[in-house]
């Protein structure tokens, strides 16, 4: 594949995934880490210089940051930083109360809770005997709430399947991930310069295109019907279905379909121009989709080849409903 084609494919799938991510959660709208290495560094320094203060720092923010850290070293260091945070709560919180009074370093953080601790320190120096028990009680309440939310996040982290962003994949993708072995085979095929991958467990077969009958009144992505083993195969014009926005007359004329990739045991098949190869990949080599909604047929992106991997069951469901690639299954 030429560099320009590589770039085009990379851009295309990046666009698809970016679109999905931008649709959804609040956390998704804050991909700050990759653009803010300074903050990461300061966080590391802070953590190493005063480890007892870690739980009081902005735990939710760091979780979100980890989700979008692209650099492996950063992710690793952040994971190391998060490990003790997730482990020890109670004792550290007590320590925090004490150190909050003793160490003004805590003021580095801008979080309200730390500000409270700062206030405590200020008040404690003036009237330690009267105010301290009340403030301690308040702090215990606030930290216990924080502990609850932290525990929720910990539970989520335990359940999370291996996605690059660390987020929970939607149920439909999760079911696909469950059905696949840790290492599984995929078939790569090409359509109009775009490479797509289909897990072999979801591959119904490959048929050479011979005589496709066009049927009136069908969507433009419906290529036609081809006889196959005493039944009719519904052939999808893959190019028209996957990238309708780019599909014009010029592209339609340039596409030269040669094979039909059959989807599981359905009567649907994707027309393709060429079959690339079949390789074994690891689950971790796929950037699995993390959000439900748009494009359920796109299970993720194979990182090395930078090509989309199909969720065949979702694809069949969409095709049976006569829906396009931009639709979601509700």
């Amino acid at each position: 594949m030429s560099n320009s084609t590589d770039d085009a494919v990379l851009d295309y799938f990046a666009l698809l995934l970016a679109d999905d991510v931008s649709d959804s959660s609040e956390v998704s709208n804050k991909p700050t880490v990759t653009n803010q290495p300074d903050k990461l560094t300061s966080f590391e320094e802070l953590s190493t210089s005063s480890p007892q203060v870690k739980p009081a720092l902005t735990q939710p923010k760091t979780t979100a940051r980890v989700s979008f850290a692209s650099h492996k070293a950063n992710k690793k260091s952040l994971a190391q930083l998060l490990a003790p945070v997730a482990g020890a709560h109670g004792s550290d919180i007590e320590t925090q109360l004490v150190t909050a009074q003793a160490e003004p370093k805590v003021q580095l953080s801008t979080q309200p809770k730390i500000k409270l601790a700062e206030d405590v320190a200020a008040i404690a120096t003036k009237k330690p005997s009267v105010v301290a028990p009340q403030i301690k009680e308040k702090l215990e309440i606030s930290t216990s709430i924080k502990l609850d939310s932290q525990q929720d996040k910990d539970i989520q982290q335990v359940v999370v399947p291996p996605t690059q962003t660390g987020a929970t994949p939607p149920g439909i993708t999760e079911s696909l991930i469950d059905t696949l072995d840790e290492q599984f085979q995929v078939l790569f095929f090409k359509v109009a310069g775009l490479t797509l991958a289909v897990p072999l467990v979801s591959l119904g077969g490959i048929v050479k295109i011979e005589r496709v009958n066009h049927i009136m009144g069908r969507p433009n992505w419906y290529y036609g019907v081809q006889a196959h083993r005493d039944s009719q195969l519904n052939v999808v014009d893959t190019c028209a279905w996957v990238m309708p926005e780019k599909y014009d007359d010029k592209l339609a004329q340039s596409v030269n379909y040669q094979y039909i990739v059959l989807l599981e045991n359905s009567n649907w098949g994707l027309a393709c121009e060429s079959l690339v190869n079949s390789v074994k990949i690891l689950k971790s080599e796929v950037n699995w989709r993390t959000k439900a909604g748009k494009r359920p047929w796109l299970a993720g992106v194979v990182k090395e080849q930078m090509c989309g991997i199909l969720h065949v069951q979702a694809l069949i469901e969409l095709l049976n409903l006569g829906l396009s690639s931009q639709d979601s299954i509700d």
Partner: protein, 164 residues
């Protein structure tokens, strides 16, 4: 025991009715229409356009003193128009108690099909023309698309034809 088998075979054959279909070609696809609805097949003759006629009407022909409306089948099926040639035919049919002509690229043959050989057409279309298809059948590795002539036009359009 043999009698029981014969009765079962007769019952099965009654269920599996054999129908005859006239096949014609349009844009490299083969279509079939029920032979009982076909009155005759004509060579192409001059079709007189009718001012103000609906877009799906090509015009009218004089068939032994009777005026017959000819439908633009290609347009109806969502296909691009093509030039008339030696194999172009006008098939005179009866549907919805009206006699009309349909212009086709060529007429092929009459085929016999068992009801069990007819499959449902893939149901993925929402366009109007999708409802014309009564079923599909695979013959000699080629798909025969069976057309329901009664649904070729909507009720309003059939009414409109009577007022031409």
């Amino acid at each position: 025991m043999a009698d029981v088998r014969n009765v079962a075979a007769v019952a099965a054959s009654k269920d599996d009715e054999v129908l005859q279909w006239v096949t014609f070609r349009l844009d490299n696809e083969t279509y079939g229409i029920n032979v009982m609805q076909v009155q005759e097949v004509l060579r192409y003759t001059e079709i007189a356009p009718v001012p103000g006629a609906p877009h799906y009407v090509l015009g009218i022909i004089n068939l032994r003193g009777n005026v017959v409306t000819v439908i633009d089948t290609r347009s109806r099926f969502g296909l691009a128009s093509s030039d008339v040639d030696d194999s172009t035919r006008i098939v005179i049919i009866e549907a919805e108690k009206q006699v009309i002509g349909i212009l086709v690229d060529s007429v092929a043959e009459v085929v016999y099909l068992r009801a069990s050989d007819i499959d449902n057409a893939p149901n993925v279309g929402t366009e109007e023309s999708a409802k014309f298809i009564q079923g599909v059948s695979n013959r000699d590795n080629e798909l025969l698309i069976l057309v329901d002539l009664d649904k070729l036009l909507s009720d309003e359009e059939w009414m409109e034809l009577t007022q031409l």
